[in-house]
Symmetry: D2
Subunit: 387 residues, 4 copies
Amino acid sequence: MNRKLRMGMIGGGKNAFIGAIHRIAANMDGLIELKAGAFSSDPEISKASGEMLFLHPDRTYPDYKTMLEAEANKPADEKLDFIAIVTPNHVHFEPAMLALEKGFHVAIDKPITFTLEEAKQLKAKVDATGLSLLLTHTYTGYPMVKQAKQMVKNGVFGKIRKVYVEYPQGWLSTFSEKDSKGAAWRTDPSRSGKAGCMGDIGTHAANLAEYISGLKIDKLCADLNIVVPGRALDDDGGVLLKFDNGASGVLIASQVAAGEENNLTIRVYGEKGGIEWHQMEPNTLLVKWLDKPTEIYRAGNGYGSLQSSFAIHNTRTPGGHPEGYLEAFGNLYRNFALTLQAKLKGETPAPEALDFPGAEDGVRGMAFIENVVKSGQSNEKWTKFEI
Amino acid sequence: MNRKLRMGMIGGGKNAFIGAIHRIAANMDGLIELKAGAFSSDPEISKASGEMLFLHPDRTYPDYKTMLEAEANKPADEKLDFIAIVTPNHVHFEPAMLALEKGFHVAIDKPITFTLEEAKQLKAKVDATGLSLLLTHTYTGYPMVKQAKQMVKNGVFGKIRKVYVEYPQGWLSTFSEKDSKGAAWRTDPSRSGKAGCMGDIGTHAANLAEYISGLKIDKLCADLNIVVPGRALDDDGGVLLKFDNGASGVLIASQVAAGEENNLTIRVYGEKGGIEWHQMEPNTLLVKWLDKPTEIYRAGNGYGSLQSSFAIHNTRTPGGHPEGYLEAFGNLYRNFALTLQAKLKGETPAPEALDFPGAEDGVRGMAFIENVVKSGQSNEKWTKFEI
Amino acid sequence: MNRKLRMGMIGGGKNAFIGAIHRIAANMDGLIELKAGAFSSDPEISKASGEMLFLHPDRTYPDYKTMLEAEANKPADEKLDFIAIVTPNHVHFEPAMLALEKGFHVAIDKPITFTLEEAKQLKAKVDATGLSLLLTHTYTGYPMVKQAKQMVKNGVFGKIRKVYVEYPQGWLSTFSEKDSKGAAWRTDPSRSGKAGCMGDIGTHAANLAEYISGLKIDKLCADLNIVVPGRALDDDGGVLLKFDNGASGVLIASQVAAGEENNLTIRVYGEKGGIEWHQMEPNTLLVKWLDKPTEIYRAGNGYGSLQSSFAIHNTRTPGGHPEGYLEAFGNLYRNFALTLQAKLKGETPAPEALDFPGAEDGVRGMAFIENVVKSGQSNEKWTKFEI
Amino acid sequence: MNRKLRMGMIGGGKNAFIGAIHRIAANMDGLIELKAGAFSSDPEISKASGEMLFLHPDRTYPDYKTMLEAEANKPADEKLDFIAIVTPNHVHFEPAMLALEKGFHVAIDKPITFTLEEAKQLKAKVDATGLSLLLTHTYTGYPMVKQAKQMVKNGVFGKIRKVYVEYPQGWLSTFSEKDSKGAAWRTDPSRSGKAGCMGDIGTHAANLAEYISGLKIDKLCADLNIVVPGRALDDDGGVLLKFDNGASGVLIASQVAAGEENNLTIRVYGEKGGIEWHQMEPNTLLVKWLDKPTEIYRAGNGYGSLQSSFAIHNTRTPGGHPEGYLEAFGNLYRNFALTLQAKLKGETPAPEALDFPGAEDGVRGMAFIENVVKSGQSNEKWTKFEI
């Protein structure tokens, strides 16, 4: 019989943006309960956060090592099922490794680690333990992204030829590092890693492109820019792509496109047609054809059997009741939870449940950062995508 | 100190659509916990639903009377704070009255009751007990609807002159009453009430029009139609409106607009400009002006101080991370919960928290149904809106 | 063998808006040449207008009677083929009758005349002479409007059930009659006729609704308003409609919807689906279905044989090269010219060429004005549409 | 005093697409009259084309040399004012040079010539003769493109940082060279030149980017592809750009983006905001700001004095009456004609009239082709833009 899964959280204290998002996503479907947390490197903030979240005081911990140790020793019907890690990039690897060692499944915000080497080690640990890892590449959780992927996979567009993916934001158009904690750590090499914009949002774009197209980036040619004076990491870039089937593509990411919000958009074209999807209006998927009118696929409709089971599985409401970013995020947690529940029962999870990003996506994301930075510094046109 | 609020649910068993929506909305922000339920008039279904929802077996009840009786006798630190009623229209009034009598706050799906007379009695009971009632007119929970209301209220458009509100759906285009439980009860006068389409969605449109404009419908002229042969209640209608300030309007509602999903749209015009909002792309509010370019207000942005505190309060994510129907629904529950928490602490809730639909909206909604049906049967052009 | 058709113009002097539009429309396709004109009731303005338009001085006339007399006596290879009448509404009937009597075909701006009675007389004259009359209900000239009409006519949507047509403008939101000649005559009963907004744009909406749906308005229920203080004619209105097949509809027209430009929009729904078209983005037609994704038909594409010959005939450019209002207007003149050329050669014009609005549309337009004003003044809900 | 300008045409016979477009554009405003033509290298087709266009038989010529010779000897009040050259790319240079030598102004379809060297010679001839040359880079004729350019020029966005321009089409997705004359010559190096897609539409994108941004491309990094097997020239490409002020950009052009029509789109971002414009909905310009709502500028509105005189000058209709591709094309001819009329009168043309693309744009366009092809073949990342 199923039961609610017990979640512990590392990071995500009172004022942290992404921790609150993870909690909403985990709460939404009533499958997961937050039971413990080490919410901050500052024990006082951790304690206050636990109170705000109505946790039992005994399960609000001053640091993550204490939490993992204590929880690992609890009886089976109390102990945590998985650990959500929502700290800045440089504090992903160690708690994730320790959680896996202690036998917990792990959910982790992207990028998976600070370096590619760490990512490979972490993936090896996941493989060795047989535990599950969820990497929150949120945008693959949208139902119409699932629909797009399945249509491509089913070959309705023929061979894929072109992939355009772009991710313009404007929120770093001025030097706001002093006023904004989020701006500060994202542009600090010691906390964010080798890349700024390309790590923060370029990885989302690359992940989405590979997810929908079913292709792998094979080589790339990057132009990375620091547009705002005084900034230490790239805040903008354009990348030409070649995929493993010979298709070409263009990836754009910018955090200085003044006036843009979070305008992730992807277009994929095959021999017979293609798709266009805009994250800011996520319930609509444009499906284009060589010699038929463009079709507007909308989430929440079955269309006879045109809509994929993967799209339908990731939708909670009928057509015209818009779902958004939090539901896409919730889909990651829901599929992760369904997978863990199946494992608890010794069953094989459904393919739709298993379709969430994991350690392999994490390794490719870190490799994207390494390779795009390498290409940005190179005078050669093409840089081979190496892992 | 705050604590999670304890919710009991009446109706909303395993296969019921709207019950699941209420639970997601209540779960989302971690302020409310489902603790008990009488989920179905069939005790077996109720029991199975409680298991599915991970409730303690002792708190899954065979019927609502048993639940309200049992819960009223629990100690203060266990007993339910409020009851969510998500049954069909004809089973709203009695459980709501009983819940209030037992001292529980009430959340109730719209329309509030089966008849106007019941609605007035229920409102009187709410007023007499001092308890809170939430009526889930979901669409007023969207942040850009809040923004629109506040802009109108602040007079930026001058006197309001025109209100166009429309709500086309297509899902009842064929006679699907045999296949769809939702279709069956909504078109059955013994369960739905005097009106079909006008009760189900026309009330939402009327509520939204009055909410944003700040005006009250004063008289109306309705053309109600049964378009699909064999149907017992209106599935379509158009209504001319006059408001209490002399403004005029048009309200359209249809469930036979083949190919439409849930396309609630409102436009309000004053002397100097106006607004346009589409429920299916709810994070955008078009603000129009006589002699300036139209502006695109987007949820999640502050725009200096242009964005109202009411809009900001009802947003969880930064601009470009779309929130949707479930978040709007969640805003109703969140504001209701914030209000109950303030009451528990003896504090006055913030104006933003208090801004959720209640018994007064319920009475006006039932009066809309009565008056629109009366007008539909009249040969006179105008029917006075009477309560 | 074909030749350029010779056009004379009545009205449309130097500063007149609509005369210039007619000339561009007539010029566009190289089938028509402006050869003569009586451009103003002021002979000096007429003369200056003729010079501006590079006319031979001998063919710029001080008044229309002189022009019609002189031109009727010219030899066949010089004399005008048709007369374009672009004066205010109250100066349509007499020149049109005289032109027909002198043997000229006539193009005339809408509304066709000042009263319904005149319209019926003019139609009788057209019928009696066998000459052609073009009434410039511009909006039926758009290719995607043609496509919509043909799809409805071919029965792809089944029986038509609903028609929503709306025409909001904002340009009369303030009392601008003193500053704007266009505002002044349109709101002056002695020049505009019985109706203001309903005559100026409501007639366009009604014409478009009947054109696409293939139905006739059978009865109506109108709410006409004078919103701006001091105005003499309606500047706003809403109308409930019943059509001759039992379908119902709603027509909205307003010139005080502040911030709107020229937002004519129509939606038509049948049993199986329907269409949506927006004049401000005229190259797109949304085609909706009960259980398939909405399709985006675009002008300039054939889509195998999905696109109607009527749409293709009225398009000059390939898909993605937007055509607009002037091309729609040009289509009226082009089809009129193709019809006249066929007549000159004793041939039967193609059905696509004959598909332009004429005297019958004019009579129905004037009847719409009469009936909508009558209904606006009535306390009865329904007014029978009488001609 | 003004008079109609007399146009002769080279190329553009009966079935040629672009010749018909030039004629509509020239006809539209009544400022230009087609008086002569050498419409085809086949004298029979030329003759038949002249008849179709109602030309005097004496002025339909068997070849362009005969025409230029004969027309040059006509008296001043008969002879042509300018020559429109609408032949394939490899037949631009010689007739243009000869026309200039004979004293005619020239309008010429883009790309200006077959090679960069020819373009430079032609520009030198234009400069030497003092005659005017119009190059029909159509897209700079749209009023909202003018508005965008003027806003950038006036500094309202601060320094420009990013330019994204893209031009996806799908019409060459299959090998259609045997069926389509347009496909055949565009992909034939002996008629089209060094580049296929980049010459046909990439040049438009580059021209638009430089026009709006006011910047010049300084270096570029191109990935050119032949996607459809058997094709001889690029049908797709992506280009990274650096501009002369240090700004970066991305240019995309493709003719194998299956399902796309003519989707030219540009976004330009400065320090404080930016613009977005879509050719397929050309009457709308999105103006984005760092901390204000995005504004929707629409053609045909003055907005007090917000709308530039350059936008207003290039608009024929009030807001909401869409103008399109043919009007943009017509604006080029209209401004060219106004410039020629001013020259005829010895006056200085208005800045708005002089704002049409000319020989300098032609040289830069040919240089773009040369440089983009060179970069496409290079292993170095950056290729300097050389003329």
